[in-house]
């Protein structure tokens, strides 16, 4: 064994001599570079993951651990009480169901609409196409706040060209139902819909035209070609968009605060946790107030409970998120 090693070493030295020291230098440089790269990547990964670890550790701490300066990361009295209380205060399983249902429904509506529109923009020539595409860009760029006040009032006093008012005598208040939000999603105006249209269009533009032409020659109609030929081909980008839509919908509290007041969701209930904790403590003891630290530990717990379903999805569909999007070779 050692003989073999020394043989290889002498062989290497000989090669190094022949190259005038270049080989050794090159190898050392390469090693140094990969070490520096590993340090950088590890450091940044730690930077990204550290808040998550902090939240996790705080969520397992008993209340007295929070005030103990000698405890930094690992709790001395690990407990699951935080989770129990947070689940009770949030009514976790009910709002988890709500959130799941809404996110699935909304992201499905969004992706269905955006795929149709993206395909239309990528593959058909029609008058005013550039104008309409500029409108897509406008949808991406306009801050939702600009139109929100008007949309809000529109749905508060909902009417289609005065027809409903003419029949029933008054407008409909859609503010507390999920209908307006699903309507927005189905017409490509939901949360970040413009971005999905853009991404899907870029993808369809990269698909070879011959595929479609072959289908047309064989007698497929426009819609049939789309469903049978183009959709199966676009699975990676559609999956990515669906996952994005789902995740962003899950954590969104801006649209939810305005359109979904009647539905309790994880994202809208989470910030209220400390107040509820105080109420809970008062209801138990008749007086007193939850300390800020305890309230914050509660929020950490709630955040972990919100994130965990997303993390599970992410771990399962990691390829869909990262690899497929980067390997589709989107041309911008």
């Amino acid at each position: 064994m050692s003989k073999k090693l020394s043989q290889r070493w002498s062989h290497f030295l000989e090669r190094n001599k022949k190259s005038g020291g270049y080989l050794l230098k090159k190898i050392i440089m390469r090693r140094l570079y990969s070490i520096a790269r590993a340090i950088l990547i590890l450091g940044l990964c730690f930077l990204i993951l550290q808040p998550l670890f902090n939240k996790l550790s705080a969520s397992f701490m008993a209340e007295k651990d929070l005030y103990d300066p000698t405890i930094i990361v690992v709790p001395r009295n690990p407990t699951l009480d935080n989770y129990k209380i947070a689940a009770y205060l949030l009514d976790y399983w009910r709002i988890l169901r709500n959130t799941l249902g809404l996110s699935l429904l909304a992201s499905f509506a969004q992706v269905a609409c955006c795929t149709l529109v993206g395909y239309g923009f990528a593959r058909f020539k029609f008058p005013l196409k550039r104008l309409w595409f500029a409108c897509v860009i406008l949808v991406i760029v306009v801050p939702p706040q600009t139109i929100m006040s008007s949309l809000y009032l529109n749905f508060r006093f909902f009417d289609i060209f005065g027809i409903i008012k003419a029949i029933t005598g008054s407008t409909i208040n859609l503010q507390n139902s999920i209908i307006p939000y699903i309507m927005l999603c189905m017409t490509g105006m939901g949360l970040k819909s413009g971005l999905y249209i853009f991404l899907i269009r870029q993808y369809f533009r990269g698909v070879p035209k011959e595929l479609e032409e072959a289908a047309y020659v064989d007698g497929c109609g426009n819609f049939q070609t789309f469903v049978r030929i183009m959709l199966p081909d676009a699975t990676p980008i559609i999956t990515s968009c669906f996952l994005f839509a789902f995740v962003w919908q899950w954590t969104d509290n801006f649209y939810a605060r305005i359109f979904l007041k009647g539905t309790s969701l994880l994202a809208t209930e989470l910030p209220a946790l400390p107040t509820r904790l105080t109420d809970y403590i008062i209801s138990l003891t008749g007086s007193g107030k939850a300390s800020t630290a305890y309230g914050m530990a509660m929020i950490s717990t709630g955040m972990v409970m919100t994130i965990i379903p997303l993390l599970i999805i992410y771990v399962i569909a990691q390829k869909g998120f990262v690899e497929s999007l980067s390997q589709t070779g989107l041309k911008m």
């Binding site: 790269r37 940044l44 930077l47 990204i48 993951l49 998550l52 705080a58 929070l66 609409c113 149709l116 529109v117 395909y119 239309g120 593959r123 058909f124 029609f126 196409k129 409108c135 406008l138 991406i140 760029v141 801050p143 706040q145 600009t146 139109i147 929100m148 006040s149 008007s150 949309l151 009032l153 529109n154 008012k165 927005l184 017409t187 490509g188 105006m189 995740v247 962003w248 899950w250 954590t251 509290n253 801006f254 605060r257 809208t268 910030p271 800020t292 630290a293 929020i299 950490s300 919100t306 994130i307 992410y314 990691q318 998120f321 690899e323 390997q327 070779g329 989107l330 041309k331 911008m332």
Partner: protein, 307 residues
């Protein structure tokens, strides 16, 4: 001659059919745009120019036109709005270049092959999930850990590494103002890394469209990696950089925890002052448009499209 006469209308017909099909495909968007974007946009513009009163029950809302009064209130009367807006714009000036440079750099590294690349990519992309929507707002409010840190500091006389470094460096008499900016950059590194998930992915997909043969040809001609980066990589991804910068700007202004956004939403939801909130939103929108327009006007000249 006769043949072309027959063929021509047929071709036109197909074109028209295609156009109709195209319109059918994008019709959901057209309906949505007209009903839920253009109409509200016009209405909110009208609102910004008038006093909005919500009439209870059946009626809806009434607009009393009063000119630029809302805008005057935003700029001259309201104490917070202009301050928030200028802070936002100046933060953007440092945040956007930092995000672009870091995400490009990270994409270059993540595009190389090394052990655990998939895992590294997955972790770098995690912030897209972890720092979206309500989570990022809570993250900033989470004073528990900083409170604990201070408590520990008081009790143990320990101090942060950065603070110690800072005091050592400033006593050595180096230019303190430059160091100050360096500290700020280091301190905001977290924000930048958190905000660059999507950009890394977009850069990665851009980098993967560069044909390998280009680099091979250049290496044979004696091109070093450094030259290859400036002469091949950078021009080839320049269009991606433009897209990314615009995305970063939009993303920066749209994030729901920005002070201006919060103020606009609160004015609308809590104080029900629709006119004033619409006026502020329009100022914000125009500022964003102006910045994006200026930027793409300046840079589109340098963007290189490889066919």
């Amino acid at each position: 001659m006769a043949k072309t006469k027959v063929a021509k209308p047929k071709h036109k017909n197909l074109g028209r059919k295609k156009a109709i099909a195209g319109y059918i495909f994008i019709s959901p968007f057209i309906i949505g745009f007209l009903a839920f974007m253009l109409k509200p946009l016009c209405e909110s513009f009208m609102m910004s120019l008038s006093d909005v009163k919500v009439v209870g029950g059946k009626g809806g809302f009434v607009l009393n036109f009063w000119g630029l009064k809302n805008f005057k209130q935003a700029f001259l009367v309201d104490a917070e709005f202009t301050r928030f807006l200028t802070t936002e714009l100046t933060t953007m000036l440092t945040h956007v270049p930092a995000t672009i440079i870091i995400s490009f750099f990270m994409a270059l590294i993540l595009n190389q092959s090394f052990k655990g690349r998939t895992l590294a990519r997955a972790i770098f992309f995690l912030p897209v999930i972890l720092s979206s929507g309500v989570l990022v707002g809570l993250e900033y409010n989470n004073s528990l850990l900083s409170g604990m840190e201070e408590y520990i500091k008081e009790n143990t006389n320990a101090s942060e590494i950065t603070a110690t470094l800072q005091s050592i460096l400033s006593t050595t008499g180096l230019g303190s103002r430059y160091l100050e900016t360096v500290y700020n950059i280091v301190n905001s590194l977290y924000d930048v890394v958190i905000a660059s998930g999507i950009q890394i992915i977009i850069f990665l997909s851009g980098l993967q469209t560069i044909p390998k043969s280009m680099f091979e040809a250049a290496t044979i001609e004696g091109c070093t990696a450094w030259e290859g980066f400036w002469k091949i990589t950078l021009p080839m991804v320049s269009s991606v950089i433009l897209v990314n910068v615009i995305y970063t700007i939009v993303d920066f202004f749209m994030k729901s925890n920005s002070q201006v956004m919060t103020k606009i939403t609160d004015t609308m939801v809590m104080r029900l002052d629709y006119g004033f909130s619409a006026a502020m939103a329009w100022v914000y929108f125009l500022a964003v448009m102006l910045i994006i327009g200026l930027f793409s006007l300046i840079t589109s000249r340098w963007v290189y499209y490889y066919e």
